[in-house]
């Protein structure tokens, strides 16, 4: 039985044919985890809270930045510098005080999957990078949770419902069926690198909320086994049918144990076997490693602690024969270019033992 107040709040959807008190009760009982309270997460959260989804979890590690405000509509100028989950929780509670909201200001990793996924029924991916997207997909397959996926690129967005239960009881396709492995690092640019029209994640995040409401209430036809792509410039929608991909199974972790041991940053090329500061000290003692500084000649400080070759990254391709048969460590200022150098060298000699100094020269101990 709905109270008078509840009836008034949801009256416009309660009177919909095929919705009614039964659907509203399902929403009130539902538990939804929204990962990422950014461009996609903000509108998704607002509509889920407004619609009366009873229990929401929000995970985000960031604080509000001024560059968020053109699309992350939960936040205002006064919120700059405050944790997103804190501001989101306050504003959403004001929107609908009847909703229970729990927040976690953490980076969402394997541990969080293991702790939080069992507590929720549906997961919404509002993250902004491939490492998180593959992690969340794999976790939803393992913990058997439907995943409402959304992603944007400049003027276009994608939406799909992965891993939900089909009418015949089997699970619908997941993200690995679509793309078994992530693209190479730097191939597909993020919003920070390539830009995004502010309203676009608003459209896509709202579509994600729509799919969550449909999942919970059982109305309509879900975007299962389908990928919807929206183009804001043409207002075109393109839907493609997906099917399971034999390659997907090869890459999905088969157990929680193997999932916990995966390194999604490495999988997505954000990290290649690095040498930390301790290994760096070891490095000085290892005579079998050829050290190569891939910075430009003018960059400071120069490396004096050990002998090294200097080959600027942009010239590396034409000088790889100098490194024939050697075990190589690439070094640059921050670690980024030396990671690229590793990839260039791996392309030349796939079997080479090759490292980069993570954190680069910046992370080396200061000389007295």
């Amino acid at each position: 039985m709905l109270s008078d107040k509840t009836y008034d709040r949801y009256q416009r959807q309660l009177i919909l044919k095929g919705f009614g008190a039964a659907a509203q009760d399902k929403l009130a009982a539902a538990k939804v985890l929204v990962i990422g309270a950014g461009g996609l997460g903000c509108p998704a959260l607002q509509y889920l809270v407004a619609a009366g989804v009873g229990h929401l979890g929000i995970v985000d590690n960031d604080v509000v930045a001024i560059s968020n405000l053109h699309r992350q509509v939960l936040y205002d100028h006064e919120d700059i510098g405050k944790p997103k989950v804190e501001v989101a929780s306050q504003k959403l509670t004001r929107l609908n005080p009847g909703i229970s909201i729990q927040t976690w200001q953490v980076h969402f990793g394997q541990q969080q999957c293991a702790e939080l996924l069992p507590l929720y029924e549906i997961v919404v991916d509002g993250t902004d990078n491939f490492a998180s997207r593959y992690l969340i997909n794999d976790a939803c397959v393992l913990w058997q949770k439907p995943l409402v996926f959304g992603a944007v690129s400049q003027f276009e967005g994608q939406v799909a419902v992965f891993n939900s239960i089909r009418k015949d009881g089997t699970r619908s396709v997941n993200y690995r069926d679509l793309f078994p492995l992530p693209p190479a690092a730097g191939e597909v640019l993020s919003c920070a690198e390539a830009g995004v029209l502010g309203v676009l994640p608003g459209v896509i995040g709202t579509m994600q909320a729509t799919e969550v409401i449909k999942l919970i209430t059982g109305i309509g036809e879900l975007l299962t086994d389908r990928l919807l792509t929206y183009n804001a410039l043409t207002q075109d929608f393109f839907t493609m049918q997906l099917e399971s991909n034999p390659a997907a199974v090869d890459h999905l972790p088969t157990s929680v144990d193997s999932f916990m041991k995966m390194d999604y940053e490495v999988l997505c090329g954000n990290k290649i076997t690095g040498i930390d500061e301790i290994s760096y000290r070891e490095l000085a003692g290892r005579q079998d490693l050829q050290i190569v500084d891939v910075r430009d000649l003018h960059e400071q400080p120069r490396i004096t602690e050990f002998s090294c070759l200097t080959i600027p990254l942009k010239e590396l391709e034409w000088n790889l024969d100098e490194l024939d048969g050697k075990k190589v460590v690439f070094i640059c200022q921050s670690g980024k270019r030396s990671m690229q150098a590793v990839q260039v060298f791996r392309g030349y000699d796939p079997d080479a033992e090759v490292y980069y100094l993570s954190g680069g020269v910046n992370s080396m101990p200061k000389q007295e």
Binding site: A151, F179, V188, N231
Partner: protein, 77 residues
């Protein structure tokens, strides 16, 4: 006659257009080969192909009436 191919996301930066007409290709492998010749960086890009709005896992026959789409992954949020 040519088959029309649609490109999505950052693939359009490689092809310079969201739609291209490709002549004389009888299957998706031939289509890819032709496009890789014209746009070499496409061969390094990640994408899936849909024929008539259905994703394909294997080489698929196409005609000039086929609706072809090249879909890359998006990561932004």
């Amino acid at each position: 006659m040519a088959t029309e191919v649609m490109f999505f996301g950052q693939l359009t930066e490689i092809t310079g257009s969201s739609r291209l007409a490709v002549a004389d290709v009888r299957d998706t492998d031939a289509l890819k080969e032709k496009l890789f010749q014209d746009y070499p960086s496409l061969s390094a890009a990640k994408f899936r192909i849909a024929v008539n709005n259905k994703i394909i896992n294997d080489n698929t026959l196409i005609s000039e009436d086929s609706k072809i789409a090249f879909m890359p992954p998006f990561s932004g949020g």
